[in-house]
Amino acid sequence: MDPEETLQSLKDIVPAAQNNINTKFIVLDKGRVTLEGQHKTCLALVADETAAVHFQLWGDECDAFEPGDIILLANGIFSYNRNNLVLRAGKRGKVEKVGEFTMTFVETPNMSEIHWVPDSINSKKYVQEAVISPHSRIFPPMH
């Protein structure tokens, strides 16, 4: 099966404690590398044609990716990490650089800047409650 056929749009991702996200995006910006315990970590702004989200790079991923890189994420997870809602590969996921530059993107909505609450019917599922900010508050749009 071609993995590209089953890719999810970023606007459709929902926080969950599962490594179930397969998607492709372009890196727009990268923050400073910091240490979390013994591991390097770095926050990045990534986006596709439908939405943007904060992506957490981990360990050697921090040096491997630069703005403009197109990344394929397999079995990623979108969840709260130290109170920040981020997308990341996690231990079971995989990130790979598949290209550069040639992908369009939008910077709003940013899925990390949305307030999510448990669904009233199915409390295991999250639903959007409110937009905290239309754009990333960490990586402002470039004009």
């Binding site: 727009l28 050697d60 991923e61 040096d63 491997a64 990716f65 703005p67 403009g68 394929l72 990130v95 790979e96 650089k97 598949v98 550069e100 530059f101 040639t102 369009t104 470039m142 004009h143």
Partner: protein, 483 residues
Amino acid sequence: MALNLIKKALHEAENPIEVSLRESFQILEPKLRPPFPLTIPTQEEYSNLNNAILYGILCEPQLANVHLKHLHGIVTDGYRYFTSMLIKIVNDFYGKLFDSVKRQLISVAHETVYVSAVGFDELMVALLRQIVGGDFSEGNLWLCFEMVTLFLSKWDSLLEEEPLVLTFALYVFLRLLADHCRVSNVERIEALKRVEIDFCVKMIRENFHLCLKIGRDLLRLLQDLVHIPEFCAIWKDLLLNPSSFRNEGFADITQIYRTRTSSRYLLLRITPEMESQLRFLLTHVKLGSQKRYQVWFTKKFLATPERETLLTDMVRFICCAHHPSNEIIQSNVIQRWAVIGWLLKFGKKTHVEANMKLALFYDWLFFDDKADNIMNLEPAILLMVHSIPRYMEMTHSLLEFLFILLDNYDLDRKAMVLRGISSAFHILVRKGVVQSLDVLVSCDMLSPFLKESLRKLLPDLNMNCPAELQKSNILCSNTPSYL
């Protein structure tokens, strides 16, 4: 043994072409040693065997001769498939190949010329496009040297089989010489320069009919080399002694000015990667969202001051080789004039700035609506018009440059240049690219001298269009955002 073509970076996906070549190699490896089987392969087996042999040649230099013999033994398609795979490798990931693989690639490229492989001319073009302008890195200079020596060593067979390849090479090396001649006393570059000069001079002196095929950009490039004695002599002969080129049809450089240069030549100075990024920008990125792309593009291709000379090639590429559809022109995708306006900003050195403007206006100077394409003119006029009023200095400097060209570009052929520029303005108005030139002529911020020059140049062109038309003219309302 771990064999690879590519230096794969951390977290980089495998390249599908490399994967398929390697798979063929791994499956067929036992069959790649003599004695070779005599059975006739099916089409699929044939492709796989070609893949395996190609992979072997590139990754096992010590066995390359065995693989080549094998290849010559099995080939039934004039090396068409084999060469097409080589072209794919060069176009898709030449820059990532290991140095040893690059060396093998050049040696097998020699072989394709030697056997006149079907498609070897495209392979030469693909390799020429990998030489980057304004790049003095060792790897890039090595490729220059390898290619120019290939053309010299295979001169006779190229001339016989595929002479146009030599014309393409001439275009490339004339352009690279302009870079290489700006550096002096670097031993490596001196040696390279010498061979490049030998190649170009040999082409022009011995095969002038092939050089003429380039058209007017031949003169644009030669102009940058006039300080080199050999080219100074060529210029003198071009102007004063045209018969010395022993070409019956050639009497005056006017003929060269009149020939529009095919976009094939201009593409030769843009790598496939630059081409794909520039085309993406001009096809998919909306005006207002281009900033990040511009930062990435700059970082990748224009990071050092020597790279500045690439800007001229890019301007020429955008004017002549990227002609968007009407759909794109009417959409909110960033337009060619805006990208050129942005590129012009990078031309810090005076000669680069002048060369970029010349590249932008070059087809104006000799415009003839029977032979030329209005799309080559369009970016310059739109850039001048859209820069009013916010980037007035852009409009001013472009228009001023155009009049300097008119007065000085070629004193002996001033009438021709005058006709070219004037017909360029006329057709741009007639075809509605701009509704009138009133926006320039009645612009308070434009110097009276330039306005007067415009009126003098175009006495018969109605500059005063009705006020309503002015209002509906979208050109006046748009503000550029390339800066």
